[in-house]
């Protein structure tokens, strides 16, 4: 690819610590002008942390950021924007109470004489939208947009501001195949216009043909760098996962044991209002056997979380039936679901799972307040039993739960669920925000629990996770089950292609796996 191009943005020796977690340990990263600079790594490797530092959302404990040969200080997203750095966050930050044009110019309004210049805003928004091949009006309320469109809208925001560096944090996690290809096309166009792209992903396949420079992060350290041509698929896998290159071929056990959970025709209407998007479910049916780990893969907005929440009784399904061990249950409350033996470990640990003010012990026993009187000694005994079983690294049960690392917090939630002695364990993104080692540990634990006869259903947006953990996988696409894959059929190509909605009659080639 000729001589090395100019470095636009450079991070030098970045260090960032969170309580109980060294997120970045002396990371240096370069982004080359008019190139696609890919940052790879598993969830929890530190990619998003690095990007939060580069976009001014957080400040490093130490380290320097240089932009076009000048050292810059970034105390806020505003400073980053002023330096020409735009970011599309993984967790969407669209203002749903505003319209498309207002979103594009939020924080950087165009004015004439102190008043908003709505006409110019709309014009520039329309131009940006057209370049992104997005089919919406500039005054459409953002709450009416699909998840994919919201993501494109955020890219439009960066375009309208003529940024120099565009950071895309997992941009395809919500996009269908068609949208992904549109995005890749847009990226190619953007490079022509003197933009530098930093592209973060854990989907190794999708960028081998698009990326120019690759940096691999593992557990907060840079473990590999390569230019296009040097970076092969094998190299990436080896570097991302370290010595423990994944052997996703756990023995395909015959799971012809009894059916524990039987789900029939679960249906849910789709809805998008101000804050919440509810993806629709359309006649979802499947069986879960005793001791089986069933993976549910799908893009963002495919309905994964909605399905689990229906099964856990915290979201009312419109139609459909669920039975546990042959007995149909009326799932209108969490109480009924848990009584029937179904428990859920939610996706957002901090929001929906733990009570941060309470101790580890109290968090574990939270759900088990079934007895009339609380007995401290009995509680401690049972909690200790679970702590040992789940190998939770803790010295004192009375410490606040927030003192634990992400992986151990996740185990605390698992312990809480196991207090109920469930028959079916539902996990929504079981290893979100957990570092690489803890991830493997959680996989091992889930496997052990399954071997003891627990039936596990987990959802994941990570291909690797689904490959590694599931005995069988279902692929959810726009609320329907698009494919069922046996253990040896679970590959990233199969998962990704089944998960991507297709436009009728056009059989688009799959972006992944080339």
């Amino acid at each position: 690819m000729g001589e090395t191009p100019e470095v636009v943005l450079e991070a030098r020796h970045m260090v960032k610590r969170y309580p109980g977690n060294m997120a970045l340990n002396d990371v240096s990263f370069r982004a080359y002008r008019q190139r696609v600079n890919v940052l790879l790594g598993e969830n929890g490797a530190g990619k998003s942390t690095l990007m939060r530092l580069l976009s001014g959302v957080e400040q490093p404990d130490s380290g320097e950021i240089w932009m076009e040969g000048r050292r810059i200080e970034m105390r806020s997203p505003r400073d980053a924007a002023a330096n020409g750095i735009a970011i599309v966050h993984q967790e969407l930050s669209v203002l749903t109470n505003l319209d498309v044009s207002e979103n594009v110019f939020a924080g950087r309004e165009l004015t004439r004489g102190g008043m908003l210049d709505r006409t110019s805003e709309d014009q520039r928004t329309a131009a940006a939208i057209a370049r992104l091949h997005m089919d919406v009006g500039v005054q459409t309320p953002a709450s009416h947009l699909s998840l994919g469109s919201r993501q494109i809208l955020e890219i439009g925001r960066a375009l309208a501001h003529r940024s120099k560096v565009l950071i895309l944090d997992e941009p395809t996690s919500a996009l269908s195949t068609v949208e992904t290809e549109t995005l890749f096309g847009v990226i190619a166009e953007l490079l022509e216009r003197d933009l530098t792209i930093i592209y973060i992903t854990h989907r190794m396949g999708e960028l081998l043909h698009l990326g120019d420079y690759f940096t691999v992060l593992r557990s907060g350290c840079v473990v590999g760098e390569a230019a296009r041509g040097e970076a092969t698929r094998e190299w990436i896998v080896r570097t991302m996962f370290g010595g423990e290159a994944l052997s996703s071929t756990h023995e395909a056990r015959a799971r012809e044991a009894e059916v524990v959970l039987s789900v029939r025709d679960v249906t849910l209407p789709g809805r998008a209002d101000d804050e919440q998007i509810q993806a629709p479910l359309d006649g979802v049916s499947f069986d879960l056997h005793r001791g089986e780990i069933l993976g549910m893969y799908g893009l963002l907005g495919a309905g994964r979380t909605e399905l689990l929440e229906c099964l856990a009784g915290c979201r009312r399904m419109e139609a459909g039936s669920v039975s546990v061990r042959g007995r149909t249950i009326d799932l209108d409350s969490v109480t009924k679901a848990t009584a029937a033996g179904i428990v859920l470990v939610p996706e957002d640990r901090q929001q929906d799972g733990l009570v941060p003010e309470l101790s580890i012990r109290e968090n574990v026993v939270l759900a088990a307040a079934g007895e009339r009187w609380l007995s401290r000694s009995k509680e401690t005994e049972r909690v200790l039993e679970l702590v040992r079983k789940l190998r939770i690294a803790v010295r004192d049960l009375e410490l606040p739960v927030t003192a634990l690392s992400g992986g151990n917090q996740q185990k605390v939630l698992l312990a809480r669920c196991l207090m109920r002695k469930p028959a079916v364990l539902l996990l929504d993104e079981p290893t979100r925000g957990v570092d690489a080692n803890a991830k493997l540990e959680i996989y091992r634990l889930l496997r052990e629990l399954a071997d003891e006869g627990l039936s596990i259903l987990f959802t994941s947006s990570e291909i690797e996770e689904t490959e590694r953990l599931a005995d069988r996988a279902l692929v959810l696409c726009r609320g329907r089950i698009a494919a069922e894959l046996k253990a040896d059929e679970i590959t990233d190509v199969a998962l990704f292609s089944a998960a991507s909605p297709r436009v009728a009659a056009v059989d688009t080639p799959v972006g992944a796996g080339c």
């Binding site: 669209v94 939020a106 924080g107 908003l116 009416h144 309905g303 909605p501």
Partner: protein
């Protein structure tokens, strides 16, 4: 979705038009209630629609209207300002103090003119607003708690300024050169009371800020999703600070109007006014969760509250029943507001046909 749409195709047209009407009524509910109230009171009391009464009514509405206009921004950011009533009281007392007691300087008491008194009162009001804004935006205190604290502090300060007494006779003395204060609340311009003009000007300015300036958009953005607003580069803390400043400024004006009208400053002035303002804002369709609502809605809400209060007095309804009725109207309005969100979420896909599909 397809099968559902097909099944509905027969009844859809009927449902559709019915839904449109329902949705319209829900959206325009404050206007509808206002019209309904005016009609009822006009029928029941012949004096209701007279120039004289409307003039009094407009003055009443102005007081609550200005408070509601000022507080709308803070409610739009998902906050609240409970201190406005006390700030109004304090503002009046400051003006009263300056006009009647003067300012002692090197042993000599000076009596500044009315403009100085007005500015002093507004400065003190804005200072309370700055405390609110600092507590909410920098110290991270919940708006409810922060402004509840300043509610007490400002009221206490108002009482301390006169040891609980009233400053009477704010008309001033020619010898002291501080006459003219009563004009604020009592004069007329083109046959319309000055307070009404003040309210109209504030309404126009505030509505302009809300809809036509970057600041206004930032207010909505912060209320809609504070995190997203911060990530978009909006200076969230600054917005939150200014919002409370503005609310206190408007409350200060209300204090001046009341003191001027009565030609006396009473330390208990404005007690529970904050509740009327909140009621007006909520009636006007502004969500206490932030991000949704309008300044014109708040004015409409203030009109409803004002008309209701006035009309009930003219009907001779006892004060106790007035409170019950006002409470009922507020509860009803919020219930309807909740209904609107739900109905709208259900109907909008049908009505807009804009393919808001998810996924």
């Amino acid at each position: 979705m397809n099968s559902i749409a097909k099944a509905l195709s027969q009844t859809e047209r009927f449902t559709n038009s019915w839904a449109r009407v329902l949705l319209f009524m829900l959206r325009a509910r404050a206007t509808l209630v206002l019209v309904l109230l005016v009609v009822i009171f006009t029928v029941l009391t012949p004096d209701f629609l007279t120039v004289n009464n409307l003039s009094i009514l407009a003055k009443h509405v102005s007081i609550f209207g200005i408070l509601a206009i000022g507080m709308t921004f803070s409610v739009l950011t998902a906050g609240i300002d409970l201190s406005v009533g006390s700030v109004a009281g304090l503002s009046g007392m400051i003006a009263g103090y300056v006009l009647t007691q003067g300012i002692a300087f090197r042993g000599v008491v000076h009596y500044p003119n009315v403009a100085v008194a007005v500015v002093a009162a507004l400065l003190v009001a804005v200072a309370v607003g700055a405390v609110n804004g600092w507590l909410v935006s920098r110290a991270g205190v919940a708006p409810f708690i922060a402004t509840l604290g300043t509610l007490y502090i400002a009221r206490g300060a108002a009482l301390l300024s006169s040891q609980g007494k009233t400053f009477p006779d704010l008309a001033g003395q020619r010898a002291r050169g501080n006459t003219g204060f009563p004009a604020i609340g009592q004069s007329f311009l083109l046959h319309v009371p000055t307070p009404v003009w003040i309210a109209l000007v504030l309404f126009a300015i505030t509505a302009l800020i809300a809809t036509r300036t970057p600041f206004g958009r930032h207010v909505y953005a912060v209320g809609g999703n504070e995190r997203a607003a911060r990530l978009a580069g909006i200076r969230v803390k600054r917005v939150l600070f200014l919002v409370y400043l503005y609310s206190a400024f408007c409350a200060g004006i209300v204090g001046l109007i009341i003191a001027s009208e009565l030609e006396a400053a009473h330390p208990a002035t404005g007690e529970s006014f904050e509740l009327n303002a909140i009621a007006a804002i909520v009636l006007g369709g502004t969500s206490l969760m932030g991000g949704r609502g309008s300044v014109s809605g708040s004015v409409l809400g203030a009109c409803v509250i004002g008309v209701l209060a006035d009309g009930l007095v003219m009907l001779g309804v006892s004060e106790f029943w007035q409170m019950v009725v006002t409470g009922l109207v507020i509860v009803l309005a919020v219930t309807v507001d909740q209904m609107q969100s739900r109905v709208q979420a259900k109907l909008l896909p049908f009505l807009l046909r804009s393919r808001p599909e998810v996924g």
